[in-house]
Amino acid sequence: MPLAPERVEQRLKERFPNVAIRRQEGAAVRDASLFVPADHLPDVCRFLRDDPELDFALLSCVTGVDLLPKDPRFEIVYHLVSLTHNARIVLKVQVPEERPELPSVVDVWPTANWHEREAYDFYGIRFAGHPDLTRILLPDDWVGWPLRKDSPLGYQEVSFTHNTPNRIPPAPDLKQLKPKRVKYKAH
């Protein structure tokens, strides 16, 4: 019989009675999602992986979400798979804008390495304890965090400098920039 998400929640609450683990409410939240406080994340993850009744051996992906203008602004979402029990569970960690940092889970699942680098690359969220937290998809000298909601889509000067060493890379003020309105001409 597949493992029910309620059982996962119950098991976590038994093991961590003092940690505020909360199920996400909402009619259209299609997957069982649990909010976990950032400080307890590595312990919870290690337990989810090692407990034989849960056995979430596969970390499917780590996603950053910018919920501007909500507070806390960011969410990091972990999609986990248990192969032996054929189950999925979603963990969420809320990250405030003032101090966008949370512990890394690379020690628990080595696959988190690139996923966390991607979240850092897109949102500027730092993962404490990550072995190599550098940009992964964007160039190393890129300025800004492109998937944040206050980062505009397109129409910026090209930021590559390797062919023109004297060019100064643009330093957009992310507080000032707004998404540019695009006007399409009708033929």
Binding site: R30, A57, L58, T111, L138
Partner: protein, 392 residues
Amino acid sequence: MRTETMTLNMGPQHPSTHGVLRVALELDGETVIKAKPIIGYLHTGMEKQAEYKTYTQSIPQTDRMDYLAPLSNNLALCLAAEKLLDIEAPPRVEAIRVLLTELTRISAHCVWLGTHALDIGAMTVFFYCFREREKVLSIYDMVCGARMTASYFRVGGLAMDIPEGLLDKCQKFVDEMPAHVDEYEALLSQNPIWLARTKGVAPLSAKDALALGATGPTLRGSGVQWDLRKTQPYSGYDRYDFDVPVGATGDAYDRYLVRVQEMRQSTRIAHQAIQRVRELGPGDYRLRNYKYVIPPKEEVKTSMEALIHHFKIVAHGFFPPVGEAYLAIEAPKGELGFYLVSDGTPRPWRMKVRSPSFVNLQCLPKMVEGHLVADVITAIGSLDIVLGEIDR
């Protein structure tokens, strides 16, 4: 005698890196000490762009992720959106989707086998494989008018009905295909050069594969029986009869065997899907739920309500509920997942693509460190990566 290690850049413009992958290798003589894949040369910000497009407008974007398997990507996005909307496509549509995605898997594996063999030095296989791939591309052409970027599936159905004669053409291809797979196997499976270049090369244990998040043939080659079509069936896969091939040792040869067997299994599924479409007969190719799916064209011409729905959905897009959904399918390369966060507007607040190649590529250092530099080529080939979906 004092020796020094040497750093060598493989790629990003190297034919065996399947696109623009760069691997920084640290070598001691011919032995790889450290390998670091460097990616991002094809990054086009597809996830950011998706936030400015409606769900339907993102479908052509997904064709360009894994450009060898456009319909698998279409399917993953459509199913994720359908999960968010809590709707289900009609059975006939599901059968057509299964048929076409299995043909996609065959064509994606054909390209993989051809290029992988070419990398290792067997040129003939390439021409054989591309011959069959061309047949699948002509089926795409027949069904939607494009050879490479199909964009054929829609949320709640298909873009248009399948043309007359398509099922006969698919049946012909499915009947011929097993003999062609025999041809590929005759060229490679017992070939001493092939065995020497792949057996025991680029090994990956089941434990490492799981820890590194590998899915698809890369994970199954290491002996883990995990196929989302079997374990978490979508699009009616539970009604088809097929086996999940697994490897034993997790070397490049096992991954080769798994993929070749998968081509045979895909022909089996496609055969059953054709029968099912025939049994179901002509019918709707889209869900009749006009809140989310545009009505059939004939109705738009005669009914005022249908015209209004058509106009609203084309002009604004549909309005999903506030919520989120993650759905993963078994794409040719592994678990392809779409995570959609909706704020109730016609554009997704966030669309994350969990692409299998991105995750599988992380296994590369584990496979090549301590082995010869020539085996790096085999390892990259046996991972079956597409840089379009790694960099997105």
